[in-house]
Amino acid sequence: MNADWLPYLVGAVVGVPAVLVLYIVGTDWLIRRLPPATHPRIRPWVWVAPALILVAALLIYPMIATAWISLLSKDGTRFVGLANFANVLSDNSVLIAIRNNILWLVFYTGLVLIFGLILAVMADRVPYESGVKSLIFMPMAISFVAAGIIWKFMYSYQPKLPGVAQTGTLNAVWTSLFQQQPIAWLIDHRINNFALIFAAVWIWTGFAMVITSAALKGIPPELMEAARVDGATELQVFFRITIPLLAPTLTVIGTTLVIFALKAFDIVYVMTGGLYETDVMARRMYGEMFNNSNFGTSAAIAMLLLIAVIPVLVFNLRRFQFQEAIR
């Protein structure tokens, strides 16, 4: 065990914040010696400096460096222009990863939103709402690694042989209840991407449900009552009133899910390792980096991820500016 790390641990948890407080108090003492007119020009920078330095060093600079590395050769010694991008986009296995990310984007985002909405609306109408919501939300607390094992076990597959039982829950239900041949959920190309996506849907549905539910409670009940009095059916109330009023919330949840779909890594890494045509961009980028030591290609894939995320980024910025305007 790493007992020799205890001093460093204490240093990080106690020492660094203490230094930070000393830094703020100390500089403030110095600032107060200066003419008052200079205070508003100096003080804010003192307060934001530690954060900005870290963000600049570990986020901004690396982004620029990655963009540059994506234009260099495998070992980073030669400038190759867009050759890495050309190679990546003509590599069939990368194209499969891109296709899979699109599957994630559509089905993961869509299913999480739909399940979250349905569960929020249903739970809103029962007295045991909080219990249901806690149970469905619970997977959000566990790691994707643990969830990957949970679902690998759910999808477990045995060839159909006499005396061999299906120990995977899904195949047991499938073979006994529906009398079908067992399915190799994680290997069969037609279904394995959806199997992985569903594991992620299982984790994230609670997230969509809880936020949708909070927004649902913000809708004045009179609106629905009025519609019902006017003779609207429950379905009409749902589609004509609830959904339109929830649309902004669903959009925001959707942007979070889209970012996650593009960055999907852990589930694929743990459950299939990207084999059987289930690879995704983030897993591939990691593989190029560590298995192939091909930094140029790896950086090019990271750039593709960044480009894919730009519409969401712009949307977030616009939304933020709108919110600030009405603050």
Partner: protein, 303 residues
């Protein structure tokens, strides 16, 4: 840069909790089909976790022969062997300590650094304030992948990779945009009169920050802490990149992911290992879920 939700929707301004345990309302469709469907869905949702939990207590020779549900009926055959095995032979006890060693500083540091910056963004006027904050909002969506290669190169040169220093720094920086965003929104929503009267009493920014802002922001700090702790505890990618497979420093996620590769079908050990890694987050979640949920939606607590 965070996997944490980028931003939350504008929702009701009441505190948002999972158990908004108010008077139940709108029972118009509280019919049998609705209840049955909801209960069925909930059961489907907990079956995977239940299967894992039950299997982790079953002897290995049974796991490969019969489904986990058979364990729910007599004859009962449960064992703790899987847990002792996985703790003793698979380095999992050390990994548990490693996970704590990573997650605790990776929770404390970004919050400490973000709090000062968030206060400046919320209550101090300076040129470039708005576009710097806009930059942080933009960074929320940028994939972590964009930073991995250069940061790893820097860490390698400075000797920060393959041990805890690099991952502490990385998690701190990656957590900052979301932490500053959330805290700035919370600090900014505190009433202006509070600061004005404190200023009249002669309080400077330092006094107001420590005596006024921090005590009032305990709920926001708590939800942020839970969020950041769960994220760093559950993280796989950052640990894989900056610690690598060095088993001496590997957190549970990395150790377990390696176990999956080496064991393949050894579900008696995998399930026990997975449950060990889930235990702490589940306790944190169950004890503090109202803060957890509030953190998720908090971007919108006010505007």
């Amino acid at each position: 840069m965070s996997v944490a939700p980028v931003a939350a929707p504008r929702v009701a301004e009441t505190p948002i909790v999972v158990d908004a345990g108010k008077e139940p309302r709108r029972f118009t469709l509280g019919s049998l089909p609705l209840n049955l469907a909801l209960i069925l869905l909930t059961i489907i949702w907990i079956i995977p976790t239940l299967g894992l939990l039950v299997s982790s207590f079953r002897p290995g020779f049974l796991i490969s022969r019969t489904g986990w549900w058979t364990a729910l009926f007599p004859p009962y055959q449960f064992t703790l062997q899987n847990y002792t095995d996985v703790l003793q032979t698979n380095n999992l006890a050390a990994s548990f300590v490693n996970s704590l060693t990573i997650a605790i500083p990776a929770t404390v540091l970004p919050i400490a650094i973000a709090a000062f910056a968030a206060y400046a963004f919320a209550w101090m006027k300076f040129p470039a304030r708005n576009w710097l904050f806009l930059l942080l909002v933009g960074l929320l969506a940028v994939p972590l992948q964009m930073t991995l290669i250069p940061v790893l190169k820097i860490f390698n040169v400075l000797g920060l990779s393959g041990n805890f220093f690099g991952i502490w720094i990385a998690h701190t920086a990656y957590g900052l945009p979301f932490a500053i965003y959330l805290l700035r929104n919370f600090f900014g929503a505190l009433p202006t009169d509070l600061f004005e009267s404190a200023q009249i009493d002669g309080a400077g920014p330092v006094t107001m920050f420590f005596r006024l802002v921090l005590p009032l922001s305990v709920p926001a700090l708590a939800s942020l802490a839970i969020f950041q702790f769960l994220w760093t505890w559950n993280d796989l990618l950052v640990a894989l990149v900056y610690i690598g497979s060095n088993p001496q420093y590997a957190p549970m996620t990395v150790t377990i992911a390696n176990l999956v590769n080496s064991l393949g079908q050894g579900y008696e050990l995998l399930t026990a290992a997975a449950f060990l890694s889930m235990a702490l987050p589940l306790v944190v979640f169950l004890a503090l879920q109202r803060y957890f949920v509030r953190g998720m939606t908090a971007g919108a607590v006010k505007g």
